[in-house]
Symmetry: C2
Subunit: 187 residues, 2 copies
Amino acid sequence: MSTNSREAILAAATDIAQAHGYGGMNYRELASAVGIKAASIYHHFPSKADLGAAVAKRYWETTASDLEALLIETGDPTRALQAYSRIFRRSLERENRLCLCSFMSAEYDDLPDAVKTEVQAFTDVNVDWLARTLAAANGSRVEANAAKARAIFAAVAGAQLLARSRADISVFDALIESYRSSGLIAA
Amino acid sequence: MSTNSREAILAAATDIAQAHGYGGMNYRELASAVGIKAASIYHHFPSKADLGAAVAKRYWETTASDLEALLIETGDPTRALQAYSRIFRRSLERENRLCLCSFMSAEYDDLPDAVKTEVQAFTDVNVDWLARTLAAANGSRVEANAAKARAIFAAVAGAQLLARSRADISVFDALIESYRSSGLIAA
DNA sequence: TGCTACCTATCGAACGTTAGGTAGTTGCAC
DNA sequence: GTGCAACTACCTAACGTTCGATAGGTAGCA
């Protein structure tokens, strides 16, 4: 089916992009992961830029719903904040993969404009959720938590990047623990 | 001269790698930046892996001496810590470039082993300096500051990455300020 | 003579992309 | 309910470009 193939391409492309970036996302490897030929991808996406934008869009949409699920699952904002870093930990668990948005932020200069837009949307989704949840946890206004939200997002992304460069997930855990003890993120 | 050409290649390659990564560091563009032809690079470096390793090695060596200079220049450890993030800010000032080590950490999976080693050395140089300087600032043992040193390094790298994705250096400044107010880095 | 520091020309592989073809299904006129 | 046109989802084959890398040559200097 058309819809399933499109989704299979997006899922495989996401996996590749989290390990090798937008530049490392090549059609022959991607097609073989899906079980089709490279030319067939053009039946679903008109160009690599369109595919990249679709991948990044799907990525932030998934993250947005994961974050909402986290709020419901934990039951309260403080517990949700404590669990936030687990979303980034999960990437490392899957063969030391990086957040798609972090990788593409590094590749920023070489990204098509449509992809840049979706990468920025991922940051916005995270920062907005963090600001909202921080506000709910301490009873303050959302806008008053924007700076802190950005700081948490950047710090967790940095921790993931460092852990990846050591191929050691315990480095990530130790960094999150340091952030906690210094008061950057919720204890 | 041989020595000057080698240095010119390394300097130009560093600039390219900070903007486009190891994968985006191509011989034709690099050669034209130096003012020679692509094939001539092989007179100085036997392969791209060797060049990449030399670039990363020179990068951490430069950073190591910059950090020692910072200690001498500021006169005391606390002031040196306050100024630490300026080293990362300087990359962003130069056409929104990223720390070479951050970019290569993202590209980790596709890096030749010799390059991986030098990338990790960069982290070690930073973390060692931070741990040493934190210890000097608060009169504690170096080993007791290792975790905090890593946390500062990761957080500053994350701030640089986020600022790059917005092509906005004020995002970096705001993040460093947030880190200060939350107590992660020295006020 | 031999070394250094480059050059031109080219290699094979990989890249995104396109042209054009082929099964299988669907929809509709008769 | 049969025939056929149109469409979907793929295919093979190849395009032009770019990549890192190599072979072999040359000018200048010791």
